[in-house]
Amino acid sequence: MPILDTPRAWYKRWLRRRIPPSQSVTLNQRRIFILPTGYGLLFLAVAAALFIGGINYENNLLLTFSFFLASLFNVAIWHTFRNLSGVTLQAGGMREGFAGSAGALEVRLVSHVRHGHTGLWLQWPGSVEREVSVKAKEQQAVWLDVDLPKRGKVFAERLRVETRFPLGLLRAWSSVDLDHWCLAWPRPIESVECPAGGGDDDEGEHSRSEGNEDFDGIRPYVPGDSLRSIHWKSLAREQGLNTKLFSDPSEGRRWLDWDRLQGLDPENKLSRLCWWLLELDRSNNPYGLRLPDTEIPPAIGPEHKQQMLRVLALYGES
């Protein structure tokens, strides 16, 4: 720990005490900050110029005009504040991505109060802003991209919620930690040799289970079946959604095995397993996974793929 805190670190700690992380944060006077924008200052400068003009020409109406501008600014403080006040921010869903690319997190905005919230800008530091408006008593959801620098759980930084509505003269903002994370899968790294045990060792017997190689008839679709194995022709004949049955290839199912990758650091191992996992999924080969602490039996399909990726992403993390 550094002896002298930078102001930034000090500010972060202060913010953490003031607005502690929570999955659901309602913005109120404790959590909203407000300051004039550059235009607000320009506006006040015009008011000041008119005040001087009014004094100088002993023109009461010009003075009144300058008082009006000052007064409108004052009203704008309240309205800008109100626009942000009373909205609840909730952590929502997530869309995972590979490390090095971007994922997305959902933020739900709920209005429990009698007025709407117009023109709220949401942003993680350093990413693209999104604008959203919430009507009174309604809710809205926004997906925000998150950079995923490393594999595993990537915790989002504090979310900046800002509004300049109605007049743009003031900026009211808050910075909330929704205790929100996005899962980053390992970055796939190509490798020549498949780190998998072939089917001949483990499953020599040519089984009549639902393999993937040779077409062997159809059965009704069950959720989780790969879209690639849907029997589209029967759908066209209006016989409902059916899945093609294949008999397994001679080499049988593959086990992607951690232990087959030697002399590599764990992240590299995970990356290669990930690449092969995607490759096998693409070529419709059933695959399983053996990690030092987990074992997932071979299967195929989008749900299986998701599960495998999640296991790889969370390897070594609680």
Partner: protein, 687 residues
């Protein structure tokens, strides 16, 4: 090129309306090319918005700007000073509309727009322009709201509505600040030149000049009396005196070698002997009133005889008049105390006597000899004056707005040939007669009469009330007023010009009626007087709210006025406004009240929490019920019953009536609520 910022359509409507409305008042005061410039840029801007044209290139904008600067320089000969500054401001603002590439530019244009409409108040401050400016404020603020609302599917009307809310909420603080923020004296002097010829009285008078002034119904000034106004025949509003006569023309003059201190005294210079003598004689009937004078671009002010004022910048002149330090460019209000029966100038210096006796050596011989004959017959100055006035009354003299032209020896020609004249003819010939027999005399020019507004206590004095009369100096009595016109047409002083012309059966009465025009119609007349009343109150209360008036208000509020107390008052006012706004905010930010079944949901939520079961906001009623069953299978029947009742209440009631809050519960609802509570308690007991 980067993407060009597009003003949202709903905001654009208000932006352009605001731009047109803010530029419009400047068309009246600015140069002739200004409307052309403004309309061109605005039409261009609209075509850009519609995608027909592109924003002008940088070079084009620069050329147009140089053109505007050159035009201003050509019109005013300078770029400095308020008039040129305003024209440049209007041009730059309209040009800024054509330089809108970023959101920033839209902001700058709107802030400039506030500035543009504010400067319209430099040349006019009446009620009409004030209401207009107020309307423009609403529109500009709507545009400002619009550019902060980037969504496309918004109706422009909503922004105007919101803008009016903001503008109205800004009013209380504005009014408060208006009354209490201390007025500071001007920092520098840079007068605003205003277009328009000088209207009203001029500093000299020849036959036919006052009558031409009387062809205007324009307002000269308004008078607000504290108490009863004087009767019509005593309403002689003195403006200036003419002491120099050259045979045809009377002019305002003082002897060349006379120092200013001898005939003018500003407040603070009141220790002069002649002024002290005037002040000593403050006796007789007193009138207290405030005059609100329309701009005359002249320095003299109008008042009843022997006027006193303590207002800064107004001097008392030796001939019992008030003179402003500067030409009156804006509406000017001044408070006067007049003593109408006060003796004036009982002991005047010899130079003053001699100055008011001077006549050309030659000319108008018949008048001179007639006057001298009467003087000898009469035996005294007073008797002579009576004789001359009765002559005007009894001989065949006529009062007319369109008198025949005079030729040759003008006074002889009038008195012995045409005998038809307006007030200046009678005043001029009467003063000539007085001087020719050695009575010091001068002409007084001003207004006579005034129309009482039926709604208020104030008088309206119009240009057609212009009048000229005579003052003669009599030993032991000082200056006395005489109005020969009143001898010829007594209706003039009692009932006004229209009545006098009508009584004289003069054909110029028709001319006068044309002048008054349709505003003479009864209904319209009522409306006009109501409008005038509002305008007058506006001028009195707002436009001319000055340091003195402020002192009065502050004294009422604070008792003793000190900077500390003013600061406290402003602080307190701001506090009250802040509290009111906070209260409003609190009121509007109340949570939406919960329905009875929603309250039941939260009761279960808290109940589970108390049992140590982790719950979170995003769990619905179903999830809560499942959580309960998961922790204790025995609670399942209660949970099921609870859920069924809950769903029934939430969905059936919501379907029947969406706004259930505040609606009285039906007996069925009440029963269901009790059941729901029972099942919840049972559920929680079993966990």
């Amino acid at each position: 090129m980067a993407r060009v910022y597009q003003v949202p359509q709903h905001a654009f409507i208000w932006l352009m309306t605001g731009a047109v409305m803010a530029s419009l008042p400047h068309f009246l005061t600015g140069p002739a090319w200004l409307p052309l410039f403004v309309i061109t840029t605005q039409v261009w801007r609209i075509l850009v918005q519609r995608g027909r044209l592109r924003m002008p290139a940088k070079i084009t904008r620069a050329v147009v700007l140089v053109g505007a600067v050159a035009g201003t320089l050509y019109t005013y000969g300078t770029l400095l000073g308020p008039e040129a500054g305003i024209v440049l401001l209007v041009c730059t603002f309209n040009l800024k509309l054509l330089e809108m590439f970023k959101l920033r530019d839209a902001y700058v244009a709107i802030v400039l727009c506030y500035f543009v409409i504010a400067t319209a108040l430099l040349s006019r401050q009446d009620l009409l322009i004030s209401l207009y400016v107020f309307a423009v404020l609403g529109v500009i603020t709507a545009a400002l709201i619009g550019i902060n609302q980037p969504e496309a599917n918004i109706r422009a009307r909503q922004q105007l509505k919101y803008s009016l809310v903001l503008v109205l909420q800004a009013m209380p603080l504005m009014i408060f600040l208006f009354f209490v923020v201390p007025r500071v004296p001007p920092l520098w002097d840079l007068p605003i030149q205003k277009k328009g010829a000088k209207t009203g009285m001029s500093d000299s008078m020849a036959p036919g000049e006052v009558s031409s002034l009387s062809r205007s119904a324009a307002l000269a000034f308004r008078v607000d009396f504290k108490g009863e106004p004087p009767p019509p025949e005593e309403r002689y509003w003195r403006g200036l005196t003419y002491s120099w006569f050259d045979g045809t023309r009377w002019s305002q003059a003082v002897p060349n070698d006379l120092p200013q201190a001898e005939y003018m005294a500003y407040p603070g210079e009141r220790n002069r002997d002649w002024y002290r003598e005037v002040q000593r004689q403050q006796v007789g009937k007193k009138y207290n009133y405030q005059i609100i004078l329309e701009p005359t671009r002249r320095r003299w002010l109008f008042a009843l005889v022997t006027p006193f004022t303590e207002q800064r910048g107004i001097a008392f002149a030796r001939d019992s008049r008030l003179i402003n330090a500067d030409p009156v460019r804006d509406v000017l209000a001044y408070r006067v105390e007049s003593f109408t029966e006060m003796p004036r100038g009982e002991n005047i210096p010899d130079w003053e006597k001699a100055f008011n006796l001077r006549l050309p050596e030659e000319g108008n011989g018949r008048t001179r000899s007639l006057a001298q004959r009467w003087r000898t017959e009469a035996g005294s100055d007073e008797a002579f004056i009576r004789k001359a006035l009765s002559w005007f009354r009894e001989e065949e003299f006529y009062y007319s707005l369109e008198p025949p032209l005079l030729t040759g020896q003008q006074i002889d020609d009038f008195l012995f040939r045409t005998r038809t004249g307006f007030c200046e003819h009678y005043a001029s010939s009467f003063a000539f007669m007085l001087r020719s027999v050695g009575i010091p005399a001068r002409i007084v020019a001003g207004y006579q009469g005034g129309e009482l507004n039926p709604l208020g206590t104030h008088l309206l004095v119009r240009q057609y009330d212009a009048h000229a009369w005579v003052e003669a100096w009599l030993p032991g009595k000082g200056w006395q007023e005489f109005d020969p016109t009143a001898m010829v047409a007594p209706e003039r002083v009692r009932l006004g010009l229209a009545a006098a012309l009508e009584a004289q059966n003069d054909e110029s009465f028709a001319t006068f009626n044309d002048l008054v025009g349709i505003s003479g119609l009864p209904l319209l007349k009522d409306f006009m007087s109501a409008l005038d009343y509002a305008e007058f109150q506006w001028l009195k209360l707002v436009v001319d709210y000055d340091t003195d008036a402020q002192k009065g208000v502050l004294q009422k509020l604070l008792g003793d006025v000190s900077p500390m107390r003013i600061a406290l008052l402003i602080g307190a006012g701001l506090g009250v406004v802040a509290a009111a706004m906070g209260l409003l905010l609190f009121w509007q930010s109340r949570s939406v009240p919960l329905n009875w079944w929603e309250k039941e949901y939260w009761a279960l939520y808290k109940g589970l929490q108390k049992k140590g079961i982790p719950v979170s906001d995003d769990l619905g009623p179903l999830a809560l019920a499942r959580l309960a069953t998961a922790h204790s299978a025995t609670s399942q029947p209660a949970a099921k019953a609870w859920l069924r009742l809950y769903n029934d209440a939430a969905y059936r009631t919501a379907y029947q009536d969406k706004t259930t809050s505040g609606v009285a519960l039906s007996s069925e609802d009440r029963r269901n609520r009790l059941k729901l509570r029972k099942f919840r308690k049972e559920m929680l007991r079993l966990i």
